[in-house]
């Protein structure tokens, strides 16, 4: 189990990360989700021991990592750039760490062969990174992390260098190789869909602080802050105009056509396949609505929603207002 | 109408011819001379005066060349090789002359300078200006090697090679000076200049005056080589002189660290300056000579040469005469200390008053010794410098060095058909 308590890091007087409290349980995958610059990669580097925290601490399986150098932390890390050594073949890339750790040649060979077949790179063993495709490179990086036999996996945007189709293909592989194992996994991403798809729990980070931690469903159904409500869920949540006091959001999928509802004019639409995304202009301002009916721009229609689907936030603190 | 037109054309023609004639009369003839930078400064006033006196007739322009002797030679040769150079005359070093003449770059000056002119010069300045009987150079100033000595350390300058060593060693032993005798031992032209004087001291010459053959196998050459090596091995001169050129030599003497110095006349003014530690206690003499041998002073000096392609030869010759006139030389001697070439100036009371060493300069000029006058001089000097440098720095055997030098010089001259 990985435990972060009141973890903080600053550069000069500026806090990059502050008051981070998080537990990643055995076998669990937690995504650190947030826009770029929110401090999520810094959190990984602190855990890995590549940087030192200015506040708080890290515990792994009940033992503090304070003062333990990076090379002794047993971390399986996958970098966004994969960080493969360009002058070494795939095999040598995998071998480097084993050699440094003083493993016998025969055993190294055996382990590398096993990992190569796990990541399906047996035929690419003698190639250099420059001769591999993006997906193959990612698998080398995963293989290297596997070989470390780590106590925790840290994945830093492992998918962001790949195109969308490849990402979809690789997700099951990532699950099979790493997420299904017993080690806690901390997965950094800025892609909420990826986080929802892969993580057991998600921690949403903003400006170095955690906004909310919860399962994907909790984040979707009960976003704790206005920011989380906006960040989770696609298409993005609608913010209603002209509300008294509270800030009210309603998700596009919760709107429905209703003869008796608010009158809106259709000003644009996007086909998504199974349904379409309508852009409406009405008394509540501009609204996005998911709808299966075929409507033409310029048409008028009525829209309504169930009040229990509304999300209310305090306009000042931006915190969720609980409604009975 | 045709008549009118013809008249008009005639009128225009007249106007045109008139304007051309007018402008050709009144546009001054442009004369350009290339000089090393220090000489440009030294002649600035005289150039201004010449242009004022010849206003509208001749316009003298001076091109400021680099300061360094080798650089100015590179610049001159480069532009001469490219065909018509952008100047009519240039200042050449005494050793370049035969080479330039052989390359057919120069125009004789005989039509403008006759034997009376030449005889009006001090003895040393008459040398090194002619090649094969034709005058190719007119000296800008006189320059010869001198022996500077410390009046406060010795009553008289040394007369012989042994005496020089003895005086220097005694002074060193008594702790009165750090170094005995400083001179120019760096592998460069200055080393050849020093050698000519040392060789004369033992009664030798570089080339046999009769046959033109090298004489490094002579007894005099061997003695000279041994003596030069001894200067360093016995401590009369520091090993460092083997990398000294003129400035380093002057520095050692000027700071009071040395008893004797071989240098050129320019050093005198420096030694009398306020920054000199030996101001007022320096005497000037000529290089030592063994009994029976006559001392020599290596001839240096720059002079003006006229280029073959010049379109303004008459005007250029006039400019050269003006820049080397007794008045111009008096001016330069009083202001910058450049030694004059006109014999009469050495007895000029005003000049004698300004410089107490003028008689010594005249004496040195009377024993001036030119370096071999041959187009192959640069090669010969290069061979000599390398052997001497080896003699001074790696204790090469002097006899062997002279043998090798003799052989190499013979080979060089033979390849040139100089010796049968």
């Amino acid at each position: 189990m990985l435990k972060l308590h009141t973890l903080g890091k600053r550069y000069g007087s500026r806090w990059i990360l502050r008051d981070l409290n998080l537990e990643v349980l055995t076998g669990e995958c937690v995504a650190l989700l947030g826009p770029s610059g929110c401090g999520k990669s810094t959190a990984l580097r602190l855990i890995a021991g590549l940087e030192h925290p200015d506040e708080g601490g890290i515990e792994l399986d009940g033992r503090s990592l304070d003062g333990i150098p990076a090379e002794r932390r047993r971390i399986g890390m996958v970098f966004q750039s994969y960080a493969l050594f360009p002058h070494l073949s795939v095999r040598d890339n995998l071998d480097l760490g084993l050699k440094i750790r003083g493993m016998a040649p025969a055993k190294r060979r055996e382990q590398i062969d096993a990992v190569l077949s796990t990541v399906q790179l047996v035929n690419e063993a003698d190639r250099r990174p420059e001769q591999l495709s993006g997906g193959q490179r990612q698998r080398v990086a995963l293989g290297r992390a596997l070989l470390r036999n780590p106590s925790v996996y840290l994945l830093d945007e492992p998918m962001s260098n790949l195109d969308a189709q490849l990402r979809d293909e690789l997700r099951p592989q990532l699950r099979r190789l790493i997420l299904q194992g017993p080690q806690p996994v901390l997965y950094v991403t800025h892609d909420q869909q990826e986080a929802m798809a892969l993580a057991d729990r998600i921690a949403v980070l903003r400006n170095g602080r955690i906004e909310q931690i919860g399962t994907p469903q909790e984040l979707y159904l009960k976003p704790a802050t206005r920011f989380v409500a906006g960040f989770i869920g696609r298409p993005q949540i609608n913010w209603l105009k002209k509300t008294n006091g509270a800030c009210i959001g309603i998700r596009p999928e919760h709107l429905r056509p209703d003869e008796n509802g608010d009158r809106c004019r259709l000003i644009g639409r996007e086909w998504l396949g199974a349904n379409q995304l309508l852009l409406l202009e009405g008394a509540a301002g501009q609204l996005q609505m998911l709808c299966s009916a075929d409507l033409q721009p310029g048409e008028n229609l009525g829209v309504s929603w169930s009040p229990q689907d509304e999300h209310h936030f305090d306009p000042i603190s931006e915190k969720r207002l609980s409604r009975s | 109408m045709p008549l009118m037109r013809r008249l008009l054309l005639m009128l225009m023609g007249l106007l045109l011819a008139g304007s051309i004639g007018w402008s050709s009369v009144h546009r001054p003839e442009q004369v350009t001379i290339l000089m090393p930078a220090p000489f440009v400064d030294a002649t600035a006033d005289q150039v201004k005066r010449f242009n004022a006196e010849n206003n509208g007739r001749i316009a003298l322009k001076v091109i400021r060349g680099p300061r360094d002797t080798e650089s100015i030679s590179d610049l001159a040769i480069s532009s001469l090789l490219l065909g018509t150079p952008p100047f009519d005359a240039l200042l050449v070093d005494v050793t370049w002359l035969p080479k330039y003449v052989a390359a057919d770059w120069l125009q004789p000056l005989d039509p403008w300078f006759d034997s009376d002119d030449i005889e009006s010069l001090v003895a040393g300045a008459q040398l090194g200006n002619s090649v094969d009987g034709a005058l190719y150079r007119w000296p800008f100033g006189a320059d010869v090697g001198l022996l500077y000595w410390r009046k406060d350390l010795m009553p008289e300058p040394p007369q012989t090679a042994e005496e020089l060593i003895q005086i220097a060693q005694n002074l060193r032993a008594e702790g009165k000076v750090k170094e005995g005798f400083v001179w120019q031992g760096r592998q460069y032209e200055g080393l050849s200049c020093n050698f000519v004087e040392f060789l004369s001291a033992f009664g030798g010459t570089w080339l046999d005056p009769e046959t033109g053959q090298p004489t490094f196998d002579s007894e005099a050459a061997r003695l000279t080589a041994h003596w030069m090596q001894q200067l360093i091995t016995q401590g009369t001169s520091p090993l460092a002189v083997s990398n000294y050129s003129e400035p380093e030599t002057l520095q050692a003497f000027k700071s009071g660290d040395a008893a004797l110095m071989r240098n050129w006349p320019y050093a005198w003014a420096e030694l009398q300056s306020e920054s000199s530690a030996v101001k007022g206690s320096v005497g000037v003499s000529t290089m030592v000579a063994q009994p029976g041998a006559s001392p020599a002073a290596t001839l240096g000096s720059w002079g003006f040469s006229l280029l073959r392609g010049s379109l303004h030869q008459q005007a250029t010759a006039e400019a050269i005469r003006a820049l080397t006139s007794p008045d111009a030389q008096r001016d330069r001697f009083l202001r910058q200390g450049y030694t004059p070439t006109h014999a009469a100036l050495f007895h000029d009371p005003e000049l004698l008053e300004a410089s107490p060493v003028l008689p010594q300069l005249e004496e040195a000029l009377s024993i001036a010794e030119p370096r071999p006058i041959t187009p192959l001089y640069a090669q010969m000097s290069d061979l000599l410098q390398r052997q001497l440098s080896g003699l001074l720095t790696e204790k090469r055997d002097p006899d062997q060095a002279m043998d090798q030098l003799q052989g190499a010089t013979l080979t060089l001259l033979r390849s040139a058909g100089g010796v049968s």
């Binding site: 960080a83 | 083997s242 290069d382």
Partner: protein
């Protein structure tokens, strides 16, 4: 390229087959390869070739090692690094002749700073410019001082192409900082080092101004370079036929060295990391 390189080469080749000196009135007269025979027998040319080679080898070797150390230092973050980076470039910006005059003063016996230091340390005069066995080291010293900044800059540029992630990954694999130098930095910097070596070797093989001003080729001709010998023949001796021969021979020797090295590098694959 053909204009600035090909034409002079053709011209030199043609000239090297002719006598063209003061003895021929500077007119080129065909001499059936006599210049080349003379060159083969010219001990001075071969001595200069050896001298030029050892000068280039030692200068370039020292420059690479020093530049590597400096580049590694300047690649670290520390206070005042910017100033030091700018200052370290100064020697490179200085004109060679000025720089050589400066070193001649430094080596001056007994007034130069080096000798003053030796004296105050109680040593006898070093006379570094008066020793046919050691003076060439003085020329190497000056050259190293002048051109190390250039290679430093080249290697610094190379260092900055190495992603920080590689060092992080290496640490996580258990590597020590010291090991990273040989495991990552040097292999990835190799192409830059090799380019530096090739470039500087070509440059050092043509060394001229530095030696001309610092030693004049002495003492006893011990520091004369091929370029200097070619210069002497042309500009001092006005022997253009032989000067062209010396220059061309020097160029051919250098080309052979560079070509051989380049082929060996290609075979060894050391240049490969550059492509990725």
């Amino acid at each position: 390229m053909a204009m600035v390189f090909g034409w002079p080469m053709l011209r030199y080749s043609w000239l090297s087959m002719h006598a063209s000196s003061v003895l021929t009135g500077l007119e080129p007269v065909s001499n059936q390869g006599a210049n080349w025979i003379r060159l083969l027998e010219d001990a001075r040319f071969w001595q200069d070739a050896v001298q030029t080679s050892r000068f280039a080898a030692l200068s370039v070797g020292l420059e690479i090692v020093l530049a590597l150390a400096m580049a590694l230092l300047l690649d670290q973050r520390w206070r005042g690094r910017g100033v030091v980076r700018a200052l370290s470039l100064l020697p490179w910006a200085l004109p060679t002749t000025m720089m050589a005059l400066g070193w001649r003063w430094i080596f001056n016996t007994p007034y130069g700073p080096l000798e003053q230091m030796a004296q105050s340390a109680g040593l006898s005069p070093l006379n570094l410019l008066s020793n046919p066995d050691w003076t060439w080291l003085a020329t190497v010293m000056a050259d190293v001082w002048k051109t190390t900044p250039f290679i430093t800059l080249l290697l610094l540029a190379g260092l900055q192409t190495i992603p920080d992630d590689l060092y992080s990954a290496f640490r996580l694999e258990g590597g020590k900082t010291r090991q990273a130098l040989t495991a990552i930095t040097l292999p990835l910097l190799t192409p830059y080092i090799l380019i530096g070596i090739l470039f500087r070797t070509a440059q050092a093989a043509g060394v001229f101004d530095l030696i001309q001003v610092l030693t004049g080729g002495g003492p006893a001709g011990s520091t004369e370079s091929i370029a200097q010998y070619a210069y002497l023949n042309a500009m001092r001796f006005l022997d253009f036929g032989y000067s062209a021969t010396v220059m061309l021979a020097g160029f051919v020797l250098l080309s052979l060295v560079i070509f051989t090295v380049a082929v060996l590098l290609q075979i060894s694959g050391l240049l490969r990391p550059l492509k990725s």
